[in-house]
């Protein structure tokens, strides 16, 4: 004997076209003998048609490119973490005592010490790392971000192409901000010049967009 939940399950499978030919024939015979089930089937069929009519088959993910880039960054970070863990595990399994028996240990140790000293001197006299860009997202589809590293300039470059030019008649006024105070309670940042005078206050409006008050 079929329970109501079995009937519902069959009904959904019938609506979705998942039944075999035999199952469909059997179920449609059941529908003819059960007016209540037939009414429910008709109601669900109409609801399904209505949903198909009003909703698109595929919904676009909002800001898909940014979403994808964030996922790629996370995956890259996870891969890096796993690789580091593997390196650590491999290093820990190596026996220190087996190295001590090596005849060339003294020479290798001296070379390593020399390299270490040279490295220390080099790191003190140069920058220890290069800045990198992991991901970019431009809300305006007309704007394209291009990232590259310039060895000549020793800088990382983020080039924004497709930006609307600033009108030539617009006067760009620069600030010289010496320090800033942030007030978390009212979500404002006050900018001061070197004399302690307030230059501007940065706050955000209801949309979360920054506003500068002078």
């Amino acid at each position: 004997m079929k329970t109501p939940s079995d009937e519902n399950h069959d009904l959904i499978r019938w609506l979705d076209g998942e039944m075999t030919a035999d199952e469909r024939r059997t179920f449609e015979a059941t529908l003819q003998n059960d007016p209540e089930l037939a009414a429910e089937a008709e109601s669900m069929r109409q609801l399904s048609e209505s949903l198909k009519t009003h909703l698109p088959a595929e919904m676009p993910v909002p800001h898909a490119d940014f979403f994808n880039s964030q996922i790629q960054v996370r995956i890259a970070q996870m891969d890096l973490d796993e690789a580091r863990e593997r390196e650590k595990a491999a290093a820990s399994t190596a026996s220190w005592f087996s190295w001590l028996r090596m005849p060339w240990l003294a020479g290798a140790a001296a070379a390593a010490a020399a390299f270490a000293i040279a490295g220390l001197v080099w790191t003190q006299n140069s920058s220890s790392g290069t800045s990198t860009i992991a991901s970019t997202y431009t809300p305006n589809p007309a704007v394209h971000a291009q990232v590259f590293h310039s060895s000549d300039a020793q800088a990382t470059v983020l080039m924004l192409d497709g930006l609307e030019p600033v009108p030539a008649e617009k006067k760009i006024v620069g600030f010289r901000v010496h320090r800033a105070e942030s007030d978390a309670e009212v979500a404002t940042t006050t900018l001061f010049d070197e004399n302690g005078s307030i230059i501007a206050v940065v706050s955000k409006d209801a949309k979360g967009q920054p506003t500068l008050l002078q």
Binding site: S126, T132, S135, T138, A155, L158, V166, I172, G174, L212
Partner: protein, 192 residues
């Protein structure tokens, strides 16, 4: 007579503690004047106010220097800004020239030294026209810092990016064209 007095006393006893109505009015006025004086005194006398709580400085992860730079091919087209690059950025214009060709002349329009707050957003605002929002994502190896950056042009965000900044390895951002040249944004992490 005695009987009448006795009867009145018994029927209308006046308790000893009851105050005459005129005295009650006087007492109410005195209370009102005294309380008004106390309120006024507490409002205007600074010695009575509690000491202000000193503002707690938020934790920081580092410090950045940001600048808005105007690049052009013609020295006569410079705006005449008097802003000077800091000592550790003396070769900035030479480095910019290697990236942003064909521009040969550069000038700093505005600059901003900013703490990167650990828990709050930080703003680098060398100009009200082009500025930067920074969210710290914590330290990176070799003295670097993981940052989420947003470049804003007034109320429009131009780009959002995740970056790892290292001291001495600045980030150059090529911004919009302006007049005969281009506006550039420079962001550099200060050494600790």
């Amino acid at each position: 007579m005695m009987n009448e007095e006795f009867r009145m006393t018994k029927e209308y006893p006046i308790p000893k503690s009851e105050v005459h109505p005129r005295k009650a009015w006087l007492r109410a006025w005195c209370f009102l004047i005294l309380s008004s004086f106390l309120i006024l005194n507490s409002s205007f006398c600074p010695a009575q106010q509690p000491a202000p709580v000193p503002a707690k400085k938020p934790a920081t992860d580092g410090k950045v220097w940001g600048a808005l730079v105007y690049a052009t091919t013609d020295a006569a087209k410079l705006t005449g800004s008097s802003e000077k690059a800091p000592e550790n950025q003396k070769d900035l214009f030479g480095r910019l020239g290697k990236v942003f060709m064909p521009y040969t002349h550069f000038e700093i329009i505005g600059q901003h030294v900013q703490d990167v707050f650990r828990e709050y957003e930080s703003w680098v605002v060398p100009s009200r026209d082009l500025f930067l929002k920074i969210d710290s994502k914590g330290p990176a190896p070799d003295g670097g810092m993981n940052l989420h950056l947003q470049v804003w042009r007034e109320q429009q965000v131009l780009v959002k990016t995740d970056a790892v900044l290292h001291p001495g390895s600045p980030l150059f951002i090529g911004g919009p064209k302006w007049r005969d040249g281009q506006l550039l944004f420079v962001l550099d992490l200060a050494k600790k």
